[in-house]
Symmetry: C2
Subunit: 371 residues, 2 copies
């Protein structure tokens, strides 16, 4: 069915997200991605992933396993293989930048997990190096930001573009999360004692900002925020209260916390994104493996007088991870849809960084995220 050869791909990283999110997504893509090899720091983890991959992807041959315990099976050895076209990087946040550069230098296309970098400075440097040295040679580097490829978010964007809710006036994003020591995410060592700004706020918060980037009709321009640590186990920060103004003058609130004291604080928070306009409003909620967009529009009689409101519900399955890998494969084939661009995802990191440092004062996001 495909007119281009399948991509031979290695995955760098073998943690929870590589296993639980990437493997099924690659499986769902059929023959677009041929997973050939895995690299992890430990032999044990890489080997376990290789077994899972053979299972889930129904591979005839097991994955080739690379790890730091044997110099002959190192990451460098993997990257020296000429039969590997591309790599998917799913490593701890602060490890990624060096690995992304190493892979690009080895001539591989790269899909690396969000955030694009642990901070704006490193992100900007990475993007500059990519654009000057590797993009020019035709190498693709995209960021695996699945909230940017999520069809439900694009559906919300289309509703606004079609004018259904009129001119956007204000918006709101609320993410209230409960995390305790038993959370599988908390147990990831690099998340338990993070060596990057924001902790879960960076790791998880960038998703919400990416969704706002997709949905809103105008780029977010200025952010003012207060940030703090509510829950001792989640240093350095777990809570951001932010206001943001977009280039078109609309403005909104962004509430991000992983510091809910009890599960009910999270489940009863009404987590969602709402966008309000002059002719209606919409809410975007993620639940039960789907993104649900509810659109309410003012109905008017022939004289323009409001007579009531209508409701439209759009539900899209959560397939962002499959879409991000598919988009990566298509970009390698020369059909880049412009999503998951490093410059775009740098805005997400910039938002979190701005909010962490704002101390209530406005930060120019556009300036901060300028490469």
């Amino acid at each position: 069915m495909r007119s281009v050869p399948a991509k031979n791909v290695a995955i760098l990283g073998s943690g929870i997200f590589a296993t639980e999110a990437h493997l099924p997504a690659i499986a769902a893509l059929g023959d677009a991605i041929q997973l050939k090899a895995v690299y992890s720091r430990s032999n044990k983890s890489a080997s376990a992933f290789a077994r899972d991959a053979q299972d889930i992807l129904k591979l005839k041959n097991p994955l080739d396993v690379y790890h730091d315990e044997d110099p002959a099976a190192s990451l460098d050895t993997l990257l020296a293989r000429t039969d590997i076209d591309a790599v998917i990087v799913v490593l701890p946040i602060t490890v990624q930048p060096a690995v992304v550069l190493k892979a690009l230098a080895a001539g591989k296309h790269v899909l690396s997990e969000k955030p694009v970098a642990p901070d704006v400075k490193q992100g900007r440097a990475l993007i500059k190096e990519y654009e000057t040295k590797y993009k020019t040679k035709g190498l693709i580097w995209r960021i695996a930001e699945n909230w940017e490829t999520e069809p439900g978010h694009h559906a919300a964007w289309r509703v606004i573009q079609e004018g259904k809710i009129g001119k956007v006036t204000f918006y709101n994003a609320r993410v209230v999360n409960y995390i305790d020591e038993n959370s599988k995410w908390y147990k990831t060592p690099w998340r338990t004692v993070p060596d990057y700004q924001g902790g879960f706020l960076l790791d998880g918060g960038v998703h919400t900002i990416a969704a706002l980037r997709v949905i809103l009709p105008s780029p977010m321009k200025t952010v003012s925020a207060f940030a703090s640590l509510a829950k001792d186990i989640l240093p350095p920060h777990d809570t951001i209260n932010a206001i943001v103004r977009s280039a078109d003058g609309s403005h909104g609130l962004v509430e991000l916390t992983w510091g809910a004291p009890t599960p009910s604080r999270s489940s009863e928070a009404g987590n969602n994104i709402t966008v309000t306009g002059t002719e209606g409003w919409l809410s975007v909620t993620r639940a039960n493996g789907a993104v649900r967009v509810v659109v309410k529009t003012i109905t008017r009689d022939k004289d323009g007088k409001a007579t009531g409101e209508t409701e439209e519900v759009i539900e899209e399955k959560e397939v962002g991870i499959r879409k991000e890998i598919e988009g990566f494969a298509q970009a390698i084939d020369g059909a880049d849809d412009g999503l998951d661009d490093p410059r775009g995802t740098l805005v997400d990191v910039a938002f979190i960084e701005a909010a962490l440092n704002s101390d209530g004062a406005p930060v120019d996001l556009v300036e901060l995220a300028k490469v």
Copy 2:
């Protein structure tokens, strides 16, 4: 039953709120307040109120009616009466300051509707004049801020004082309201074309700030906000998105809008105040004539390990207006509980004014509300 003589009171203003809120509250207070007279600009409105009052308060004699159409029945004539001890002022926002001063100058105790003044400058001047010229003579001036006297809000405060939710970390107040041309509040001429900052944001928004003042354990100190007009019929502004930091370092979001495009935007917003702490959280919701406080607290075993959470529900009837008048009467009797103090309510006006002018930059609320 009462050991002190009943207060002979005149009400200045005869609009919706005077009739629908003050009259029933005065009735509920029994013999504490003897309503003797009413003043309004128009004879028609004052006379209609007098009839309602005789009815609702079951008065033997009708109220004395004062209005601007007959110089012999003017406000000055009313205030010259020596048998009137106190006045309740329920007039349009920008009319109130001059009337409050006139009543104080005539030696009357004054309960005046919130906000204390249309802006901080006028509020500060009023308070200074009251404190230097009239308070010293034993005259009482309180602000009818019923959200400050509401028992439900004090219940939430007590929960926090008792340490049930631990140390407060972050909080949230959401007020999303739908107003159209048919609203009885919108139809009040002085609300339709307001001659004061903020429009409904000042008139209604001060209530929410007053509730936060009562509930939170530490004074709000710094506010950053964006403000705008979402709905053409509600100039000058109808929407505030604010972040605020309290003196104890906790911080929160305040979302105020009267610019919801459709009723569902308001009814589905989940309007409430939530306060989150290290050991639990609480929500404060106003509905069906009551204030409902739901408290969730982490339960712990003997080793301090979290085992789950408990829920406690406190429901208090909405009786803030009765309480504010009762507090006024008691203050005249020498038992001032310190609530509804002009200096306190000046903070509410300062918050709205700060939010309207902030443009994303932090404003020092304590400094702004300093008299």
